[in-house]
């Protein structure tokens, strides 16, 4: 399919993640936050990771990058091949090199990830000096270029300012500049526009499209907002209960979702468009009853079964693996929503 304004996806895998499992040991017991998540990210591709809070989408990425405090977290298993090495097996210093120069990341709230007592310029220039050996003057010149790249006016003077002097949108732009500083091959963006207003979000999304065209990096974009990803991603994976429940090209996922959770989620969303008489908007919203799973035990059954209209005996007995449902399209479900009947599937056939 056509990549969104990005160089054609040539199929070379830049990040190959397998079987990430992470638990948290809390005062109330163990929480099984991530229960065997894997994905592959190809050169120049934007992979949308969609899920509600507690679905494990951020914890997966933080586990991969070694950014979780342990304890309470415990990364039980996982492999992440980046540039020929498993970054989940690296020591502290080697991992820091990867995080600085190989994999950049942007978090939801820029105010908590920028240091309030250091100037924005220092924070962007510092990794350039540490990872790429730039001199101070070179690093600051490059920092100004980066601010310019992300659309911050008069970058040279803004470099001397502190994060609190930036507006929310500007801070998020500065965070993106910081993540791009060492030209990473992979950018992990965790809800980068969630804290922003919709008109500012539109600016940032436009910037990301432009940066992809110009820099061609691969991006993992984590969000709870199905709308943001529809206009941005090449492929999308949907997470629920610490598992990947569906994975497909963006059009297939939105137009022919195969997992009941994805279908229900898309169904609950009202829209600002539609045949403008307002009447269809008047109807009761389809909703998903019940609550997300509590994850106090590792999943032995389908985590969505208690809220699923199609659940049958097998769903309560066996947790479905990701099954191939069409070319490049996988869903972790024993029920074939299109046929309206249980899927006839060999017992041990992950796609």
């Amino acid at each position: 399919m056509a990549a969104r304004g990005a160089p054609a996806v040539d199929g070379r895998c830049v990040l190959d993640v397998e079987d990430v499992r992470t638990r948290f040991h809390t005062a109330d017991g163990v929480v099984h936050a991530v229960n065997g998540v894997g994905f592959r990210l190809h050169e120049g591709e934007l992979l949308g990771v969609v899920g509600e809070s507690g679905s494990g989408k951020s914890v997966t990425m933080l586990s991969m990058l070694g950014l979780l405090p342990t304890p309470p977290a415990e990364v039980v298993s996982g492999r992440a091949r980046f540039d020929g090495v498993d970054i989940m097996r690296l020591g502290r210093d080697a991992l820091r090199q990867v995080r600085g120069a190989g994999v950049g990341f942007v978090f939801q709230d820029p105010m908590t990830s920028l240091n309030p007592v250091l100037t924005v310029g220092y924070q962007i220039a510092e990794p350039l000096r540490a990872h790429l050996g730039f001199s101070k003057a070179e690093a600051w010149r490059r920092a100004a270029e980066l601010l310019d790249l992300v659309g911050i006016p008069s970058p040279a003077s803004r470099l001397r300012e502190y994060p609190h002097q930036f507006s929310g949108g500007m801070r998020q732009r500065a965070m993106i500049a910081l993540a791009l500083a060492c030209e990473p091959k992979v950018l992990v963006a965790d809800e980068p526009t969630t804290a922003l207003d919709v008109t500012v979000q539109a600016q940032i999304l436009d910037l990301v499209r432009k940066l992809r065209r110009e820099l061609g990096m691969a991006i993992v974009w984590i969000t709870h907002d199905l709308g943001v990803v529809a206009g941005l991603a090449d492929r999308v994976m949907v997470m629920y209960g610490g598992l990947v429940v569906e994975r497909a090209d963006v059009e297939a996922l939105y137009l022919r979702p195969r997992h009941p959770y994805t279908r229900a989620l898309l169904g609950t969303l009202p829209s600002v468009t539609g045949s403008g008489n307002g009447q269809e908007a008047r109807k009761r919203l389809p909703s998903i009853s019940g609550q997300p799973p509590s994850l106090t035990t590792a999943p032995a059954a389908c985590p969505f079964a208690p809220r699923c209209g199609h659940a049958f005996a097998r769903c309560w007995r066996e947790n479905p693996p990701l099954l191939k449902v069409a070319g490049g399209h996988e869903a972790a479900c024993w029920f074939d929503v299109e046929a309206g009947a249980p899927r006839r599937q060999r017992e041990n056939g992950p796609a």
Partner: protein
């Protein structure tokens, strides 16, 4: 004191009849609106120096006019800092208005004090955004929901417990949850607890301030459906404050769009979403992401430049002129008049086509 607006100023002429067509047909269209605000203004002083002299003001709400008919839901949308929540709080008298008037059922409540204010509070309630922060963690759900009943001397003892149980049931919670504490509940359930409390005194009018913004997508629809059910069952009137344009389209009859302390456009849902006239409304709708990848990949978006200016120093003329793609010289010189472009559809823009 006058209890009715003195004459109809041109700015106040929102055409209640035009908008009323879209109300669900309850209530008399020609009747006095349930709520009417005119020139509503709330400035927060900026104090400086050891003498705490006032050097300026944050003009959070700066001259807002609208009305709400009984049984109607008015959506109030805008981005963070536009003043929509402050407007809601001032209407509920949770803050003193700097200027302007508020009428409730034709009665001027702008300066109401003491007992009359207390009895008014029984009729107007608020549902807050963050059910985590608006529920006291040390109180049981029963005492949270029952507190207004005790406070207003409506019920106590056994009758109170029964009333609380019934209220919890009305929002879809089990009556025996009364003995538990807020932290035992999920976000959606906490929002239901907040709604049960708001309903305790059988109000007529509820201001919902971003009631679903903190909830997960799959829970948002549940809460909105509940709000709609309650509206039908209890004949409630809502002011629904939100930044979520899609949800407002779903729940509201008419929508007011706020920018930097002013309403820039107000229209029935169908007209606002189908034929937005103000460039800001157009940009907001254009920025809202849709859910069809084929459409999204090709869609031309109106991208606004820069950020919202500070409400302490709004730009002269039209407040939107610094970001407006259609701005011309006139826009920074003269504030656009509030004018009706079609029945019930009003806009404040020099260049909005009639």
């Amino acid at each position: 004191m006058n209890t009715e607006p003195i004459g109809e100023s041109s700015r106040a002429a929102h055409g209640p009849e035009g908008g009323g067509n879209h109300a669900r047909g309850r209530g008399d269209l020609a009747a006095t609106p349930l709520l009417r605000v005119e020139g509503l203004t709330k400035h927060f002083p900026i104090l400086r120096g050891i003498l705490r002299r006032q050097v300026g003001a944050v003009k959070a709400v700066d001259g807002v006019d609208f009305h709400i008919q009984e049984g109607e839901t008015l959506g109030l949308v805008g981005e963070s800092g536009c003043g929509k929540s402050t407007a809601g709080r001032v209407i509920l008298r949770l803050g003193e208005a700097t200027a302007g008037r508020i009428w409730y059922r034709g009665e001027d409540i702008t300066l109401l004090k003491g007992k009359p204010l207390r009895s008014l509070r029984r009729r107007m309630q608020m549902v807050f955004q963050d059910p985590q922060e608006s529920l006291n963690p040390r109180m049981t759900v029963g005492s949270i929901v029952g507190e207004p009943l005790l406070e207003h001397g409506v019920a106590k003892g056994r009758a109170l417990a029964e009333r609380v149980g019934a209220l919890l049931e009305s929002v879809g919670l089990a009556p025996n949850y009364a003995n538990r504490y807020p932290h035992e509940f999920s976000g959606g359930q906490r929002q239901r607890i907040g709604m049960a409390r708001a309903l305790a005194l059988r109000p007529e009018f509820i201001i919902c301030d971003e009631p679903i913004a903190a909830l997960d997508v799959s829970i948002q629809a549940q809460v909105v459906n509940l709000l709609e059910d309650l509206r039908e069952r209890l004949n409630l009137t809502y002011l629904f404050i939100s930044h979520d344009l899609a949800m407002v389209r779903h729940i509201a009859d008419r929508v007011a769009v706020m920018y930097l302390g002013k309403i820039v456009e107000l229209a029935p849902v169908r007209d606002l979403y189908g034929n937005p006239r103000h460039p800001y409304t157009q940009a907001l709708l254009s920025a809202a992401p849709g859910h069809d990848p084929r459409v999204e990949a090709r869609r031309e978006r109106i991208l606004l430049q820069g950020d919202v200016p500070s409400p302490a120093a709004p730009p002269p003329g039209c407040r939107f002129n610094t970001r407006c793609p259609k701005a011309q010289a006139l826009c920074s010189e003269q504030e656009p008049a509030w004018r009706e472009v079609r029945g019930g559809h009003s806009v404040a823009c020099h260049f909005a086509e009639g």
